[in-house]
């Protein structure tokens, strides 16, 4: 880089959310015409920082300088006008209209009388697409494009706003290798036109292939900024994860019991392929991997929630034919979803009704619900899980996140599970409740429940799991146990840096 002219200078940003500090004093400098990578674990503060730069969120403290001028982006429009384009991980396009209409969404060229000037629209769209070396027809309906092409439309949309800085959040997460190549070529050509790119990715290899500099965040703190050419992958991994694991995790189990669950040859489409593993009594088996590695999909297929193309499931050496989720529940397999509000709880209903939901036969006499039994069931779990409620008649939405999570756990314990799959069991809950749930998990394991823990929270995986299986793009990329369960090993397997069997 000949001249390092600063385009964006973010200084000492602090952002607090109720209960947590998402960013504490983070700074970031982006030069004109560079591709700058932002890396960190889930929860490190990357999205918060991006959202602040993109005007989605506003910082509580700190300053932003744009081309040397101090600026304040009150909303996304502000940031767009300044020249910041933000391509979210989830594309925000309308599938039912044309490519051109997507690019100029909200800013259609109009003729007299307020009618859309389609000639002008298509002309300007093809000009922009041409600068991107893309041969997508502006008249095509968006839904006819593949994900990679749609991403290019998103970038075209950002560029049509005359953007100087393009923020890309995990742009390659749903692209094929070929599409990734095309995207990279495009980004390099934008760079040569003097446009800066802020690139967020979990895939470290991409950073070495594409980026000029890299900034690392960890737990909301700024760790370092380096030239990519001056760091190694190991440096990055260490600085991303380099923290001591809290001593608050319960002791691990000493011995493994009987075989409870055996999965063989489980596959479905591109979600996961040939998954095989075993789960033993009394153990907590961790599943690590990046978001999109296929862990939840695999778990849901085991339970019969989602379809599978092939695969056998044996519980205590007995082959199970699971055609629907009800079958799994009757066989004592529970899946505690990652998204408690959207998929786990009945927010407007009472605590007791949430706890009884997965197995009404627990509390029913024939076709009628026995109120006393429902009450006793709820009270049992409210006490044993230490759920803080004023009454079991309280609607779940009035509880704190941690207590909501415990209600969901109670719902699954009420089915008397033999196997419990817990997907992100402590996401978004405070430290105290987290430790309680961890202790409960270990207790359950000791009582003989086989627990599968799916988590993106690295310390949790390491602190809780007796064994860890790492998945990468739908395949098991490795298994770790004992002292081999380290952040470095997991990250290495998860980012697919080396593919061991």
């Amino acid at each position: 880089m000949p001249v390092n002219e600063v385009l964006l200078d973010v200084r000492d940003i602090v952002k607090r959310f109720p209960g947590t500090v998402a960013l504490s004093g983070v700074s970031l400098e982006i030069f004109k015409g560079e591709i700058h990578a932002l890396v960190g674990e889930n929860g490190a503060g990357k999205s918060t920082l991006m959202n602040i730069i993109g005007g989605v969120l506003q910082a509580d403290e700190g300053e932003i300088f744009w081309n040397g001028q101090k600026v304040y982006f009150a909303d996304t429009r502000h940031a767009q006008e300044a020249g910041i384009g933000f391509v979210h991980q989830e594309l925000s396009l309308c599938p039912d209209v044309s490519v051109a209409e997507n690019i100029f969404m909200g800013r259609m060229p109009v003729k007299a009388g307020g009618m859309i000037d389609y000639d002008e629209l298509y002309k300007r769209s093809s000009e922009i697409l041409k600068t991107l070396n893309s041969n997508i027809s502006p008249k095509k309906q968006l839904r006819e494009l593949n994900v990679g092409e749609q991403q290019i439309v998103e970038i075209a949309k950002a560029l049509s706003l005359n953007c100087k800085l393009l923020i890309l959040d995990e742009p390659t997460s749903s692209l094929t290798e070929n599409e990734v190549e095309i995207l990279f070529r495009l980004l390099r050509s934008l760079k040569s036109q003097g446009i800066s790119v802020l690139y967020i990715s979990h895939r470290l290899q991409e950073i070495f292939d594409l980026c000029d500099r890299v900034t690392v965040l960890r737990d909301g703190h700024y760790i370092m900024t380096r030239l990519v050419s001056e760091v190694t992958e190991n440096d990055l991994i260490l600085s991303m994860v380099g923290r001591n694991i809290d001593a608050m995790y319960p002791d691990k189990s000493e011995e493994r019991g009987q075989l409870i669950l055996k999965i063989s040859n489980l596959s479905h489409a591109d979600d996961f392929k040939n998954v095989e593993f075993e789960l033993y009594k009394g153990e907590i088996l961790g599943f690590a991997g990046l978001i999109g590695a296929g862990r939840s999909e695999m778990a849901r297929a085991i339970c019969g929630i989602d379809p599978k193309d092939s695969g056998e499931i044996y519980v205590y050496d007995q082959k199970l034919n699971i055609s629907g989720y009800g079958d799994a529940i009757r066989n004592g397999i529970g899946y505690m979803t990652e998204d408690r509000k959207e998929q786990g709880l009945f927010l407007n209903l009472e605590v007791k009704k949430n706890i009884s939901a997965a197995k009404l036969s627990n509390i029913a006499n024939g076709i009628f619900i026995d109120d006393d039994r429902e009450k006793r069931l709820a009270e049992r779990f409210v006490t044993s899980l230490n759920i803080k409620v004023s009454s079991i008649e309280q609607p779940v939405e009035s509880l704190s996140g941690g207590n909501q999570q415990k209600v969901m756990l109670g719902k699954w314990l009420a089915i008397e599970p033999r196997i419990l799959i817990m997907d992100e069991p402590t996401r978004g809950i405070d430290v105290g409740a987290k430790a309680e749930i961890h202790a409960l998990m270990r207790q359950l394991a000791e009582q003989g429940v086989g627990i599968i823990l799916i988590s993106s929270d690295m310390p949790e995986i390491i602190g809780m799991s007796d064994r860890v299986i790492v998945m990468h793009e739908g395949c098991i990329s490795g298994e770790l146990s004992g002292s081999n369960i380290t952040e470095e090993n997991i990250m290495t397997l998860a980012s697919g840096v080396c593919q061991t069997k």
Binding site: Q343, K359, F368, D371, S398
Partner: protein
């Protein structure tokens, strides 16, 4: 930490009991409004508090009340049924036509109900199994069933001659001075209310309406639940159709026009929510009574009948707005 936890606990306790009070007020408030309205009406008109007026009003609201029980269940499941009025007409017309054709009245009644179940199965299949939204599905069924009723009668009402007394008694008879039709409504409402609170199946309906994703992730067969819900609504509409036939002794293809909106309004006024997971039969019945009283009052006070719809509309909007304010307050709290 412990202190902070305690604090949040206390505030959430206060909030919930506040909400519980509101819930209580919801039905209590409605009851109060009804009582108040009755007092006002008895003062305003000497004809209001007479046995004949009250009996007529009760007979008039009985079929709406029966359907309201079903509509509440549909609303709790997160859907609604626009075809209730048409199914009412079709079941009555089918029964009437078969009877006129020479069939035994009771067999004809059973077949009228079977037709209703058929309508409900179609609704339930498209909504529950295929996943078409309830608005489109039941709007179609509303036209299909109404159309079928017109086709069967070629457009003109069929008069039933010499129907057995036992049948006409359903709609026109009395037991101990109470009209049988009102008794049937009361029985259905009481059973409905009990089921709503205690039946394991209806509990599943609540789960589905509250959060259908969470319901299916709790092992509940969501499409089966929805399927059954629409059958229940249709059966109740069919029963209302038979009672209407028995009451007037005429099978009218245009019977029950506008029932769907009236009954939905009543259920919503009574606390059911269009977003599902909430609603009581008791509330819905109170809603039916309130709307019926308003109409009765307008008639007694010699106000033009054209005011009825206008005023019912205002009541519905007021009730829903109140509900919305409560909900947003609860969500943001």
């Amino acid at each position: 930490m412990a202190q902070i936890n305690n604090e949040t606990n206390l505030t959430s306790t206060a909030k919930s009991s506040f909400w519980q009070r509101m819930m209580a007020i919801r039905e209590m408030g409605l009851l109060l409004i009804i009582i108040l309205l009755m007092i006002v009406l008895s003062l305003a008109s000497p004809h209001f508090f007479t046995a004949s007026n009250i009996t007529t009003t009760l007979i008039g609201l009985a079929t709406d009340g029966i359907i309201a029980v079903g509509m509440t269940i549909a609303l709790v499941s997160g859907g609604f049924d626009l075809s209730v009025g048409s199914v009412l007409a079709l079941s009555g017309v089918t029964t009437g036509a078969l009877y006129i054709g020479g069939m035994n009245i009771w067999l004809a009644t059973v077949l009228g109900l079977v037709i209703s179940v058929g309508c409900g199965m179609v609704n339930g299949y498209f909504i529950g199994k295929i996943g078409i939204n309830p608005m489109i599905t039941t709007l179609s069924m509303m036209n299909i069933a109404r159309g079928a009723a017109y086709v069967l009668t070629e457009g003109s009402p069929l008069s039933l001659a010499q129907t057995p007394k036992a049948f006409t008694n359903l709609g026109g008879g009395t037991v101990l001075g109470i009209p049988v039709i009102v008794l049937i409504f009361i029985v259905i409402a009481v059973i409905g209310d009990y089921m709503m609170r205690h039946s394991a199946f209806i509990r599943q309906v609540f789960y589905v309406g509250s959060n259908s994703k969470a319901a299916s992730l709790s092992g509940i067969n969501v499409s089966k639940v929805k399927f059954l819900v629409f059958i229940i609504v249709a059966v109740l509409s069919g029963i209302a159709g038979i009672l209407t036939l028995s009451r007037f002794n005429v099978a009218t293809p245009s019977a029950g026009l506008g029932t769907e909106m009236r009954v939905m309004s009543a259920a919503i006024i009574g606390g059911a929510s269009l977003s599902g997971g909430e609603g009581t039969v008791f509330g819905a019945v109170l809603g039916v009574i309130l709307l019926a009283l308003v109409n009765d009052g307008l008639v007694l006070l010699d106000v033009s009948v054209y005011w009825q719809d206008l005023i019912s509309g205002i009541i519905l909007l007021a009730a829903v707005t109140l509900d919305y304010i409560n909900h947003t307050r609860r969500r943001t709290a």
